[in-house]
């Protein structure tokens, strides 16, 4: 046992796993702070930098493709939240449309440690799987290991500051409003309070998948202080979830609004 402890003490602290040069994409994992403290969330950033003409995917990949899958191995008492995805782009392929990123994108993940940590160092392991596509698709997988000292307060990591600022800037802005949606025949009708939305938004992304068909020019109507969105129900729609996420986009900036299911329209 003492031997193991001695060996562990020799492990260098590591706030950035070496970037993985995978086929057609470079994948990297960074931590926002260089140490961790009990009860203080640790933010990490998983970045995908695809080669020119290649792309990775949003949480709803659209007509084909696959969102990255993250599988964490964390010490007892730790929790990993769902990754936050940057505002996607619509990537047409023939008559099909995918949602994703044709340049570098970063998934932000909040890791929540327990309130109290006795150990001197913590080891965090991420098994990341992704799909990168151009005309062809190539799946990839990498394991990232991070090792961070436990301190009373988490120490900022100035070298990663701008990367995290950029990643947060790329997330759709979470607006403190909520709308509704309903399924009416072959259509999905979304109704959002629009006072805080720019009137020139042009793109709509819906998550999860299989709710609405991907469309490059969706039917958007601003009516007084509401935004009404009429989308074609997805051919593979099977069940309306209690809530969907509506991401609106204009020139790379996104706005995210939750829309709750309005059950009245369902029977039509």
């Amino acid at each position: 046992m003492w031997l193991l402890a001695a060996l562990l003490a020799l492990v260098p602290v590591c706030t950035r796993a070496a970037p993985v040069q995978a086929r057609h994409v470079t994948v990297d994992l960074l931590t926002e702070t260089s140490t961790v403290a009990g009860g203080e969330s640790l933010w990490v950033l998983l970045t995908f930098a695809p080669e020119t003409h290649w792309h990775t995917y949003w949480k709803n990949p659209g007509d084909s493709g696959l969102a990255p899958k993250l599988n964490w191995q964390l010490p007892p008492g730790w929790q990993a939240r769902e990754p936050l995805f940057p505002t996607p782009a619509a990537i047409p392929y023939g008559s099909q449309i995918n949602y994703g990123y044709e340049s570098e994108s970063g998934l932000l993940v909040e890791l929540v440690p327990p309130l109290v940590m006795q150990e001197e160092n913590v080891a965090l392991t991420l098994d990341a799987r992704w799909l990168v596509c151009a005309d062809a698709c190539v799946p990839g997988q990498a394991e990232f290991k991070l090792e961070l000292p436990v301190t009373r307060f988490a120490a900022p990591n100035p070298r990663h500051k701008s990367r995290f600022a950029q990643a947060r800037f790329s997330l759709p802005l979470q607006l403190d409003i909520a709308g509704t949606y309903r399924v009416q025949g072959e259509q999905i009708l979304v109704d959002l309070p629009a006072r805080t939305l720019p009137r020139s938004v042009s793109r709509v992304f819906i998550a999860p998948g299989q709710i609405a068909e991907a469309e490059l020019a969706p039917d958007l109507t601003f009516k007084e202080d509401r935004l009404l969105i009429r989308l074609n129900r997805h051919s593979y729609f099977s069940k309306a979830p209690p809530q969907i996420e509506v991401v609106l986009e204009l020139a790379g900036q996104g706005w995210s609004v939750p829309a709750r299911l309005q059950p009245q329209g369902e029977s039509q």
Partner: protein
């Protein structure tokens, strides 16, 4: 060469005269088509009535297809159901010059080398059959009941991934649908998310 020509001519489709086909929908009649498979046999869907039919969109270079062929999963399903007399057609809608576009000789070689057991492989380089079914991914599965109605359309299983390691935990929707159909029950999951590479139209 003669044979190749015949096959190429064969994929020129004969649609029901002037009928505009609606998008496929579970419970509705499946769109009909006539094509020639890579062995030179003419396949007309509406003439197959009385048997279950599986349509499988495929592209041998797509990693999602490789997951199901590399593990033997797809071949095992083909064998199980063709042994029961059901018909199973693998359809390649890759356009000329696009990934997965193959000729009849290559298709037959793939069937042999992979130990596949479909009733036939249909080449659809114009994408006409693919678009008729709005096939989006490889793989993408459709099941027709003996009356020609579509009873299932969507993914091959419940875990969208290119990892063979996920097969065991996944619910195979083709298997699940046939288990219910054979027990005289309706298919409880008639639609699921198709996942995979885009069809290379």
């Amino acid at each position: 060469m003669n044979r190749l020509l015949r096959v190429l001519l064969g994929v020129v489709l004969v649609f029901s005269a002037g009928l505009i086909q609606a998008a496929p929908k579970p419970g509705a009649m499946a769109p009909d088509f006539t094509a020639t498979d890579t062995q030179g046999n003419t396949v007309t869907l509406s003439k197959l009535q009385g048997q279950y039919v599986v349509l499988e969109w495929t592209n041998h270079l797509c990693p999602f297809v490789q997951k199901h062929y590399g593990s033997g999963n797809m071949q095992a399903l083909q064998k199980t159901y063709t042994d029961k007399g059901y018909r199973w057609y693998s359809i390649v809608s890759s356009a000329p010059g696009k990934q997965g576009n193959i000729d009849a000789a290559k298709a037959n070689e793939l069937t042999t080398s992979r130990g596949a057991a479909p009733s036939g492989v249909i080449l659809d380089p114009s994408g006409a059959i693919g678009k008729l079914y709005d096939a989006r991914t490889t793989p993408h599965m459709f099941i027709l009941d003996p009356s020609g109605k579509l009873v299932y359309m969507g993914g091959i299983d419940s875990i969208p991934s290119a990892d063979k390691g996920d097969l065991e935990a996944a619910t195979n929707y083709v298997q699940a649908a046939f288990a219910e159909l054979e027990a005289g029950k309706p298919v409880s999951t008639p639609v699921s998310a198709p996942y995979g590479c885009s069809v290379k139209y």
